[in-house]
Amino acid sequence: MGVSIQVQNLNAWFGKKQALFDITMTAQANHCTALIGPSGCGKSTFVRCINRMHETIPDAKAAGSVKIGDVDAYNGTSATQLRRRVGMVFQKPNPFPTMSVYDNVAAGLKLNGFSSNHKQMDEIVERSLKNSALWDEVKDDLKKKSGASLSGGQQQRLCIARALAVEPEVVLMDEPCSALDPISTGKIEDLIFQLKQNYTILIVTHNMQQAARVAEYTGFFLLGKLIEFDKTTKIFTTPSDKRTEDYITGRFG
């Protein structure tokens, strides 16, 4: 089951430059929350602070409170432990190029030292690929085909399967469809609807129609600040902030 993401007074820096200013928001459990805003506004940085990916960049740091359910992300848990609970799907599909489809899905468990017999692993791989709606397309040569030989849309669904295999509670998606064609995008959006039953989803998108289609809640970022956070319908029909209105009506950004 998914758990909520509670963020309080989150600040983030790249060296001396501050990228996020006092972000406070909560993403409801088993819902999809979208983050929109112009390029460079801090959406991706915000998402990367949630699974502590931000700190892998030299000189980058973050301060504030992030809670995944009851777990304090920045206190009493290691980044690697945290990331097993918080799956991430990236902008560009990034399957491990040297691994087969099967090994890509199994990678998270294998590399984390989770030992299981073949039958268990087979089940986990099959379930993850079914949950990411890729099973039927790859089941015939799971172990023979490289993950990198799939099409872009399939690769992205493979990356989702890979993230699901470690059974996270939350899935972060950083512009998962920006490198995909409309048909693949549609498949991923359908998938998000199904995934909501079991996971909490936080999605960054440049596509406002996409936010409106998949998310119950939407946050609007501008220059490192969370300008407005509300129900998606409210944001797209009657935003309370002038800047949100300007952005969604296309007056800038």
Binding site: T80, R84, M88, P97, T98, L111, N112, K145, S146, S149
Partner: protein, 301 residues
Amino acid sequence: MSSALTPNQAIPIKSAEMPNVGLRRMITDHVMTGLSVFAMLLVLAPLVAIFGYLVYKGIGSISWDFLTQTPKPVGEIGGGMANAIEGSAVILGLASLLGVPVGIGAGVYLAEYGRGGYLGSVVRFVSDVLNGVPSIVIGIVAYSLVVLKQKHFSALAGGVALAIMMIPTITRTTEEMLLLVPTQIREAAYGLGVSQWRTTLSITLRTALPGVITGVMLAFARVAGETAPLLFTAFGNQFWNFNLNQPTAALPLQIFAYAISPFDEWHKQAWAGALVLIVMIVVAVSAVRLAVSRGNLGGAH
């Protein structure tokens, strides 16, 4: 090409010049292709010539005896370089055993941990300098480090000298190859909760492996023919030796000794030794490449 435009509408002045431009481009294209083919042949020619001449001069002296017997004293006909072939294999194996892990480890440090750090740039600089140090100097270093301590020449000393020569090449190619692996691949592993060392070992290094192997093979092929650093480390030996702590024969040493001798029979054997050395390198490099490509999956890249 816009089909909506008639030829007259489509930038009329340019269209009149089009045939000439096309011809010029075609000629330029052919000239450049020709030049690059010529350059390729220029590189290939000495290689083919050397190998051809080696075969021509050496094949006659290669026999079962040559591959299985030790050298005979002057005046006796026959004898071979079996002990030198064995010695070379041992010294090169030892050098690889010492040099490859250190070189790859240093390369991993430079690419994954020491990027932009002070220690990283020092290691990078030192390794580039080491790459330019004459091999005879490295021989002297191994002489004072190992031979003087042991008080005698040994295969071990030869292995150490060649390992020192392999390290900078392997370090720098490993670093370059790891840096070519996209950050997104590393992040994918981090995102699954995989620790940094495990990511480096199982994902980054695995992805860069073909390039890293190329670096290792370059270094191996380069030191396989080195004579100078072996002169006062492995020293050479006329007899079989399987003890790492004893002076050992090596093909380059044997070739050197026979080539400067005044005897025709020995000159022929030197040619044969050189041919065997080259074939050994080719076989070793191909075997490693084959072993690596076995692991690759269909459809990758």
